[in-house]
Symmetry: C2
Amino acid sequence: MGDDGVQVLAWERARDPDRGRWALPGGRLGDDEDVEASVLRQLAEKVDVREVAHVEQLGVFSEPGRVPGTRLIATAFLGLVPSDVDPVVPDDTAWRPVSPPPAERAPAPDALPTPVRAPALAGAAFDHGTIVAAARDRLRAKLSYTNLGFALAPREFTISALRDLYVTALGHPVSATNLQRVLTRRALLEPTGAVAPPGPSGGRPAALFRFTDRTLRVTDAFAVLKPPGEHGRGAVP
Amino acid sequence: MGDDGVQVLAWERARDPDRGRWALPGGRLGDDEDVEASVLRQLAEKVDVREVAHVEQLGVFSEPGRVPGTRLIATAFLGLVPSDVDPVVPDDTAWRPVSPPPAERAPAPDALPTPVRAPALAGAAFDHGTIVAAARDRLRAKLSYTNLGFALAPREFTISALRDLYVTALGHPVSATNLQRVLTRRALLEPTGAVAPPGPSGGRPAALFRFTDRTLRVTDAFAVLKPPGEHGRGAVP
């Protein structure tokens, strides 16, 4: 996340095929690890990122011609780094801007959702633009029905700063008042009791908040149909 | 789905390893297909199931020792067949009951969700019980924040019949009145104008309903934060 919108960590390929294009960090699955262990190992080894607040499988990308030469099947992951973390990365690696989702519009009653086909990462190698688009859309959807904001936000934040993160990830305007009301009603947000230092323009100091929970949960899971006592506590498989 | 709860289509292994145990249908990825094409081909070839109302990637299962011998990595899918479809399946294949999720209970405020570790398919081969448990939990979660009920229900149904499907899949009681109210408010349900034939006990004939849409959507996606005109129309990445 940044002033330029959602960003993804990518490295520049120094060799053909697709020399000069941007690629997602990754590598081969080791003989003695599963894909979950592998992704954490590779993030740590290749891009020195250890502060990942949430990781989940995104999907398998297996189109036969997705990479030239020997067939490679990718298991892609979505990993989120909080906005206040700026890990040191190797020289060939950088945070690259992700294109926003296709323009929002009110669909006709019978319209199907617009499939995302345009690469979301400019100059991406292979199908990595498609993978980034899928990750962007997963993040956007899960922000709406889970507490996943915890993985984007610093430990403590003002509502205004949180709103900016949601706007960036959702790609459309969000009212800070609405955001605070919804997250509070769902018991996801609590005041820390402290206030932020005043900004350059002075004014009333803003209250700091934190997420009540830093484990992914469905926050609005059809609550009226849930058994008593379980409201808002559904685990996300 | 059935009187015995959620069911999964599985075949009995005739050879070691794990002879006599129940296995999910599957097979090797072909050279000229991606995993999505492969799963549809294999369902059609091996279990003659073509009436799948919804298919989605469930996840990659890659633990190094999950299958004896040469390492095999599985991409598992969740495929749903409506309750009124009863495809003819081969002799070694049957619908097997899936164990319900762990007992519901109100968690303590700081409790983590209970991870599912017990196999959900009795007598399952390899890690297939774990895969079935993940599928059961995915179905349960998506029923709560999407319109996925369309993939379980017949084209037309009474509210009472739909309630029975939700109760089976969710594993806890659901009020038919609540269900109708919530699905109607989300514009997921509409009356067909027809009524069901009276049951053996007579009584007032029940109205028939259908889902307004048979494409997966997030139905309650943080609606208050969405831009005008997009309420309830979010595509599920």
